[in-house]
Symmetry: C2
């Protein structure tokens, strides 16, 4: 049985998108900087149909995440913002379960990505993702509300943050106001130029 | 000339105090956990008039901070909450400049701590602290408003966070909504059991 994981880039002040996110600016003002560490990496480029790129510790972390993930859960807004930019061959290459209120037929894309729309709640989406993932992990891709709900319900096993060295000053936080205290155990710290990878196990 | 530094313990969700802070619960609910890594250390105990304690990488970081700091700036609320618990021999052992609207005679305590009350703004408090610190650093002790104002004004050189492995779920953040973007450069990452020390230079 795999783990349920959250794996996100954030600024030192805790934002996962910059201010004023929306169509055409999916990551908000300045939000693209959170992901700068990833764009040049071989593993990331491969998943986006591009050749070449850097290898090394950062790339190992990206490869590890892609290899271990068997299914993905995301919120409706993230899907709606992403659908167009992700194009015909979205970077998930796995079944994706979208939490939404609006029923819709599954959407099959190239490269192994299928979007299934789940209308009976985030926990049902997680259950379906777990079945689809088998022995692999389920990754909670966001947005913030979906991730927060699952952490609050004690359903997440591991949190990894890629901390980008900047203050975004505004935007969306992953854990804006969780409303409950959660104990963690640090399981890995990797310091690379331009990003620090912090991984935690949720203590239950 | 020394640096202007911020050096704080925070939770992974960015809180420097837990919810409902106030007299008798200066760090808010659960907030004491942010500082658990420090209480057993020799350097911390020494400044609080206690003998013994652990040495090692965490203690080196505490010693370094105490040794390098020549003066402190803090906000009124932090002073008011701390005045009683800090007692006759406060842990600063350096001149402290309190930003307030209410004029008051300087307060001299044992062990080298003097509180000077500055009524003409946070930048004036910083200038006075710089003069008092000479070649040493000025530490911005908090609260959040004071720290945010100085970072926003581009007057802070270095930020160090001691990240405690927990989500506090609520409370006060150091950088709630800075409103401006600030580039940083990671200058040191030290991973210790129970805490990860992240240090950044502010890029100006």
């Amino acid at each position: 049985m795999g783990k349920v994981t959250i794996d996100m880039s954030m600024s030192l002040d805790g934002f996962v998108t910059g201010p004023n996110d929306g169509p055409g600016q999916e990551l908000g003002e300045g939000g693209m900087q959170l992901h700068e560490w990833i764009f040049g990496l071989a593993g990331w480029r491969k998943r986006h149909g591009l050749e070449g790129g850097e290898t090394g510790p950062n790339d190992d972390i990206v490869e590890e995440a892609f290899t271990d993930v068997g299914a993905v859960v995301m919120g409706r807004r993230m899907f709606e913002l992403g659908e167009e930019p992700w194009g015909d061959d979205p970077p998930f290459h796995a079944p994706v379960f979208v939490v939404t209120h609006r029923a819709r037929e599954p959407l099959e894309r190239e490269g192994g990505t299928t979007f299934t729309f789940v209308t009976d709640g985030v926990e049902s989406a997680l259950d379906q993702a777990k079945k689809a993932a088998g022995d692999k992990n389920v990754s909670i891709a966001g947005g913030a509300e979906t991730a927060q709900q699952l952490v609050g319900a004690g359903l997440v096993d591991e949190i990894q943050f890629h901390v980008a060295p900047l203050l975004l000053g505004g935007g969306k936080r992953l854990f804006e106001e969780l409303g409950t205290q959660v104990q963690l155990e640090t399981t890995r710290v990797i310091d690379s130029p331009g990003v620090t990878h912090l991984r935690f196990r949720v203590v239950k």
